[in-house]
Symmetry: D2
Subunit: 268 residues, 4 copies
């Protein structure tokens, strides 16, 4: 007897993305020779033909479990390598033309403060996605980095700025084999703000950053253009998107600027 999923649906029509979402699972990587541990939120989908009622969801989960389980012995180098392995296991368990997997998690970068040289751990939100179409693999990486904007218009109008936290996002899309490091992506965003921010700052560090802020006033438009310009130089041939949102200190609303460059493969 056919499984319910393999029957013909009452209402037909192919679907683009069918699978699991908001699933959390532990993974490991060995980036740069060190072991890293994440518990990302996962979305994993495949396309489904119009002749089949449903996807066998447990096979998606088994692919994650199997690839991640093997991974605990010999982890993938990067999150994208873990994701590619999961899609490869799934290829042997379930029919699909196009499969995608995306993970959202936090990345920790160890830094030193600019003046007093203290150690500080800086945490950024990241999203890493891999898609498989036939035999081709694509990837999309995204970082979300906190910084600030110092208003150049206010600086000119009254000699003093208003300042606020801003959030810069950079998305890079490319073929799977193109080298795109998350650390470099974070740097592209950090360098575009009025000043870099840190979790730990002693008075000397704080003064340096405040002075840097004031000597470097920027609109969100400037930050977004900076991110795009930095990313174009670093990630040649990739599709690039940038978005900056500032949590205005003189308004209740936020201000936003978005831009893009390069071609887009638009996975997910």
């Amino acid at each position: 007897m056919k499984d319910t999923q393999d029957r013909k649906p009452d209402v037909g029509g192919g679907l683009d993305r069918v699978g699991v979402t908001n699933l959390k699972t532990p993974i490991q990587t060995t980036w740069g020779g060190r072991r890293y541990y994440f518990t990302p939120k996962v979305e994993m989908t495949i396309d489904l033909g119009g002749d089949r009622k449903g996807v066998h969801m447990s096979r998606l989960i088994e692919s994650i479990t199997e690839a991640v389980g093997e991974g605990s012995k010999k982890p993938g180098r990067s999150i994208e390598e873990v994701e590619r392995r999961i899609l490869d296991v799934l290829s042997r368990r379930h029919r699909f033309r196009r499969g995608e997997i995306m993970m959202e998690t936090d990345m920790v970068l160890q830094r030193k403060t600019p003046v007093t040289g203290r150690k500080t751990a800086e945490v950024h939100e990241i999203e890493v996605a891999v898609s498989k179409e036939g035999r081709r693999y694509y990837k999309r990486l995204k970082v979300r980095v906190l910084g600030n904007t110092v208003c150049p218009h206010s600086m000119e109008a009254c000699g003093r700025p208003h300042i606020q936290r801003a959030v810069g996002e950079l998305t890079v899309e490319s073929g799977y084999d193109v080298r795109v490091d998350l650390e470099d992506m974070v740097a592209c965003v950090e360098k575009s703000f009025s000043a870099e921010v840190y979790t730990l700052l002693k008075t000397g560090d704080e003064s340096r950053i405040v002075e840097e802020m004031h000597s470097n006033p920027k609109f969100v438009e400037d930050v977004t253009r900076g991110i795009i310009s930095n990313a174009r130089r670093k990630f040649r041939g990739c599709g690039i998107k940038a978005r900056t949102v500032s949590n205005e200190s003189i308004h209740r609303h936020d201000v936003v600027a978005e831009g893009s460059a390069g071609g887009g493969i638009h996975i997910l």
Copy 2:
């Protein structure tokens, strides 16, 4: 002297979407001859050429204030009409090639319960967006409607289902003048679930709905195909997207199915 915004930026490059977001403002409409009041969350953006440092943000706000202020005397018929008026005011205040405005809010529909006939107010999340490109206007409407899925596979495997809340989303994109009613969009989604849900249910109503659920088992894939099929019949020539997510009662994760039909103008 030139305003800071009108100067040449240090780093050039055109931007796709620059403006305000997470702004809340009160608006009114006169849909079907009755007056409706909303306090939507607004995102409003325009494109910006590579030769200008920034957008004059206060002109975006003034356009909202002016159009909504006039609107309190003679409100627009629909949210999309209010949005079109705002873009038209902005056209006279700020240069842009492409402008967009999107509002997110709640819509109330008055209903009766299926058996005992009690009055009940059903509230749905909606998103309404209008874009202006040169002299052309487009719109995109989205509804987010709660319902449920009753697992057909479990029904076959052990004679009993697992049941869970599901959320169905329908997005319709079209030219501004095409008739697309949010009430009809909600109906397209509601009819696709295993059963419709209500805020108020007495025992008789509850039993009817539970019976309807059990006689109508559906995967999220079935719900999504149902939404698309209903929307294609109702909104001919429009771009259609559907997404259903079920909050599984036997898993910690959710299950998702997405599909689309018709051409897409992909505003926003």
Copy 3:
């Protein structure tokens, strides 16, 4: 036959709060002679004795529907009056010793900008709760207001501040009949920031606010003490809580300060 809810539970023990939550419903008020429309998110609960398996949930919904339906003809003056009516209807439908109802929504205040005198609509998040214990009624009102902090330490250390958006919250608890106006609560918070913020600001307004900011540096600690001090003068005899969070522009984390004054009835 007894309803399932009225049976003895397998595992006994009284419960503090049983009811519905995340329910949205439209309500109206006639504050100051004008009609206002809200679609709040509602949580409504009662206590339950150890001898009864469950609460008759539909009676809670019916109480809302009935009180709000009557209200559309003759609305309550305030949200708290609407809530009290709902609890009174419930008293006739369901046994309870202590009942509570809370609504979360947005409040719009019409303002003028400080220099150019433009009209602007300012929207604040509010929470209004009423409890009934025997024949006594209590209320708790909360406002969440956006503003900013300008760092006095940085001002001293390097002559220039860092500035950021801050969110001030004020909660006032009292007997039902004590006069507590949400507008006054908003004013208590606004006056405590380095400067008030507005949705619409032309260049002249912006310069005034930026100057006010710089001449009025404040820690979150100062803002919280200011809110408490203002609220103690305005709302004598009431329980008062204040919380300020600043979205630091030089850090990835936020800074928080909480304080309280007066007795607390701690409803909800």
Copy 4:
């Protein structure tokens, strides 16, 4: 010269909780002899006397950095031990009468599915807080566990249930030295649902769980009482709170039941 923070404030008054929030930082533990890695969201506060303008925020961060840095060589056994170490470092750097630290993160438990015996990783949200008052330490642990409810009223009224995802929360407060294991807390909640849920389920597992669900109908009130009853037996002498929310499959709103037992120290 006195630091700005140590000056007398313009408006006086002691504050209850002043510090940092929404801070993310990596920590390690060695629970049960295995090493665990977390990147929790941290809130850390101390009280502040009315004679001092502000808290030296960077000392809070330094205490975290120092205690966690030492911890990478010799990690604390549990999250609460890491937190206690941080408060102890802070005691040497900053004056306070009462200090608190809370971490929110995800916990992974390795399980086997009930029939087919597959390995599956189950992830739960946890909150762990420690407070120090003078020389005394207290702790508060919280778990948030997903499960389901199967409506007993519908089962009686029409022979068939409606079923939905439910979320059970258990909070346990005690002196620092009382043994309270998060794994035991999760078990207290899981056993209280109509059935336990799993990330991976093959058809045999799914049928077993669906049958268990149907033979074990429960209101949210029953789940909450079950959690309290289980926790009272397991954690004698501790303060206990439980809250269950079900995402109703026949309604748009949720249903909630809260209860408590034992004394409360109410930290945070």
